[in-house]
């Protein structure tokens, strides 16, 4: 966990990152945080066009993009992220925003939860969690903000199905939807991996979902269930 650790990422290997954020203060802080965790910042740019160019040039493991960037300050970061997902499937995309818009999350995921993340900017304050999310996205996993998940759960039409779960199982469901692996869930809830596996099996049974091994397919199944 130290800066001198040199090349030791949280996912075990260093990750190459391109940052796009128009506020210089936050951009520099983010770059520092990422290098601090032993990763490498290939480029840090201020708008969406520069992001697309930087990704084409550096082929990073993950691109971190702010949603609102010049020139219109609406959703150019999101649109660039969607473009990156289409044109550079090898690059994970982690979108940061000061607001959570469910519609944005839906556009970003669009049937494929691999290598994608959507987090509130606040989450960067919890350095270890953010680094974990970054590594997950870089490795082809998913990182959805807890707020997106709680909104999905609240608005879900499967209130009956969710009500059938125990409180613990609901926690596990939310963590699964955020894109965490069994190990990650176990660490978050301070339980063993075996306990988590049992919860997961129970949840899938109660909700009538087909069990799935790969984390990102599991995320998609859970999100589909909540959103349908």
């Amino acid at each position: 966990m130290t800066a001198s650790g040199g090349g030791r990422g949280d996912g075990g290997r260093p990750v190459r990152v391109v940052i796009a954020e128009d506020a210089a203060l936050f951009r520099e802080g983010l770059a520092r945080l990422i290098t601090d965790r032993g990763h490498q910042v290939a480029a840090a740019v201020g708008d969406a066009d520069a992001l697309l160019a930087a990704v084409a040039e550096h082929h990073p493991d993950v691109a971190v993009a702010d949603v609102r960037m010049p020139p219109t300050h609406t959703d150019e970061g999101l649109r660039a992220a969607i473009e990156l997902r289409r044109d550079h499937p090898g690059t994970g995309v982690l979108v940061l925003s000061q607001y959570i818009e469910t519609r944005y999350a839906a556009r970003l995921l669009e049937g494929n939860a691999a290598g994608v993340g959507y987090l509130l900017k606040d989450r960067v304050a919890d350095v270890a969690e953010f680094a974990d999310a970054l590594a997950r996205v870089a490795a082809g996993g998913t990182a959805l903000d807890p707020e997106v998940v709680s909104q999905l759960v609240r608005a879900s039409r499967h209130a009956d199905g969710i009500a059938a779960l125990t409180p613990r199982e609901r926690e596990v469901l939310a963590l699964m939807a955020e894109g965490r692996s069994n190990a990650g869930i176990a660490a978050a809830l301070v339980v063993t991996g075996g306990v988590v596996e049992k919860h997961v099996a129970s949840i899938f049974g109660k909700l009538g979902l087909p069990p799935s091994e790969a984390d990102n397919r599991r995320v998609l199944a859970v999100l589909r269930y909540l959103g349908s």
Partner: protein, 489 residues
């Protein structure tokens, strides 16, 4: 014409020569500062006929006189037409063997009545058209435009259209203007007469010598000289000097007559051709209200953007730095220091959350992408599940989107708080040129704007743009609230 010098620049009060609004040369203009007042006034009077403004006023008088003559000619033309038609109608029954006299009389009266009726129908619309021509003329030549009256109200069906024509107030006022303008027109003809005949009189001495070479013993007829006070004959070269003097006097008087006539005509136009004062006031108020609503929406949007780019980003960076500092605290750190850093970290994160909900209340950022996105996020945040359907072929004005959004937010919050509903439906569509937001739930009903609960505020909000709120909420439910808003403020 020595008076063309800059003797009186800027000194005379408002000679017809000076441009309106005192566009005269700056006072520094070379004027011998102590020129006697009488001299400056005389200079202004002498220059008056040769200024652009005098020219425009004269042109206005000429054009107005021409338009007035058209109106004057119309009754004669109609009377002539009536006569012809009457005669044609009267001749047929007056065939051989029938006593013509009483038979001619009846159709003539009928024709007269028909002509009067047609006149009554034609007058308001004709008045509007000619009035518009007058207004355009005044705007083109004399400056500030006179506002157009409200457009005629369309009617449905033959009777409706007839009624609309007959009740067309501005049309009748315009027709009355055409009549009242006739005396003013006489003054305007006078102004033109002063200028044209004055110019002609001025020329007498110049062409007089051309007629000198007549045979000896020929007695010359005196040449008539026209003046406003009658005419006199000129038979000698010395007499032409009198004609010249009369011409000069008329030319100098012409701009003043033109100005007086034009002013009278403009006054009449303002009274008769412009919108009625109350209607004008309503139009002005509507416009200023729309501006105020747009302004406040734009202001809130800017405020949110400033928060987003300023305080929020600084706070996020602060929280991030505190997070990093916290990670770097070693195991041997003073527990008090750790506690303080933890508290600061948590405080920054809490402040971020608070600031975010504050900014969202000022202007939801998703609105920048349209109501569909913003309502989707809003619907996702509510307790009862929301069926959202948005069908908008075009985006309403930003201020309308903001009002619609906050109405939807209020109604969803109401449904969640008071109705104990299981389902809420939000429907946004474009109906009859207006935006219609319908929020219905299957809850307990009994919502009443009179008993507070935010519905009164909703009505207030909609009313700022002439929107309507319709609440149907019988006890026991279901509740359906429909908000209708224009597409623009």
């Amino acid at each position: 014409m020595g008076a063309f010098g800059p003797v009186n620049q800027g000194a005379a009060d408002e000679p017809p020569g000076s441009a309106p609004g005192g566009r005269a040369a700056p006072p520094t203009a070379l004027a011998p500062p102590k020129a006697p007042a009488a001299l400056t006034a005389a200079g202004a009077a002498l220059r008056a006929p040769f200024t652009a403004r005098a020219g425009r006023e004269l042109l206005f008088c000429l054009a107005e006189a021409a338009l007035g003559l058209v109106v004057l000619a119309a009754p004669f033309a109609l009377a002539g037409l009536g006569l012809v038609v009457g005669l044609l109608a009267g001749r047929r029954p007056a065939g051989p063997g029938s006593p013509g006299q009483p038979v001619v009389f009846v159709p003539a009266v009928a024709v007269l009545l028909v002509i009067l009726a047609l006149l009554a129908i034609a007058l308001p619309r004709t008045g509007r058209r000619l009035g518009a021509a007058h207004r355009r003329l005044a705007a083109r030549l004399l400056g500030p435009a006179i506002g157009a009256p409200a457009p005629p109200r369309p009617g449905r069906g033959l009777a409706g259209r007839l009624g609309a024509v007959l009740r067309d107030g501005p049309g009748w006022r315009a027709a009355a203007y055409l009549l009242l303008q006739l005396p003013v027109m006489v003054a305007e003809i006078y102004a033109v007469f002063f200028a044209a005949v004055g110019l002609a009189n001025l020329s007498y001495p110049f062409w007089w010598p051309l007629f000198r070479n007549h045979a000896p013993g020929t007695v010359l007829q005196p040449v008539p000289v026209l003046t406003p006070f009658g005419s006199f004959g000129v038979a000698t070269l010395a007499g032409t000097a009198a004609a010249f003097a009369a011409g000069a006097a008329m030319l100098l008087a012409a701009p003043w007559v033109a100005r007086g006539a034009a002013a009278a005509d403009c006054w009449l136009m303002h009274r008769m051709l412009g919108p009625p004062r109350l209607a004008q006031r309503v139009a002005d108020l509507e416009q200023s209200r729309a501006l105020a609503v747009q302004d406040s929406a734009a202001l809130l949007r800017r405020l949110e953007r400033d928060l987003h780019d300023g305080a929020q980003i600084r706070l996020a960076t602060l929280a991030m730095n505190l997070g990093m500092a916290r990670e770097k605290l070693g195991a041997d750190t003073d527990p008090q220091v750790r506690e303080l850093v933890d508290a600061a970290h948590q405080g920054a994160k809490d402040a971020l959350v608070e600031l975010r909900s504050l900014a969202r209340g000022i202007h939801p950022p998703a609105l920048d992408n349209g109501l569909a996105d913003a309502l989707a996020t809003l619907a996702a945040g509510g307790a009862p599940p929301v069926d959202l359907s948005v069908h908008l072929p075009e985006r309403p004005a930003p201020e309308i989107e903001t009002i619609a959004y906050f109405c939807a937010a209020e109604l969803l919050a109401n449904a969640a708080k008071h109705s104990r509903a299981n389902r809420v439906a939000v429907d946004l569509r474009f109906t009859d040129g207006a935006l219609e937001l319908r929020v219905s739930d299957d809850g307990a009903g009994g919502a009443d704007a009179a008993r507070g609960s935010g519905l009164a505020g909703l009505r207030q909000r909609a009313r700022t743009v002439d929107g309507r709120v319709e609440i149907v909420s019988p006890p026991g439910g279901p509740t359906r609230v429909t908000v209708t808003l224009p597409m623009h403020a």
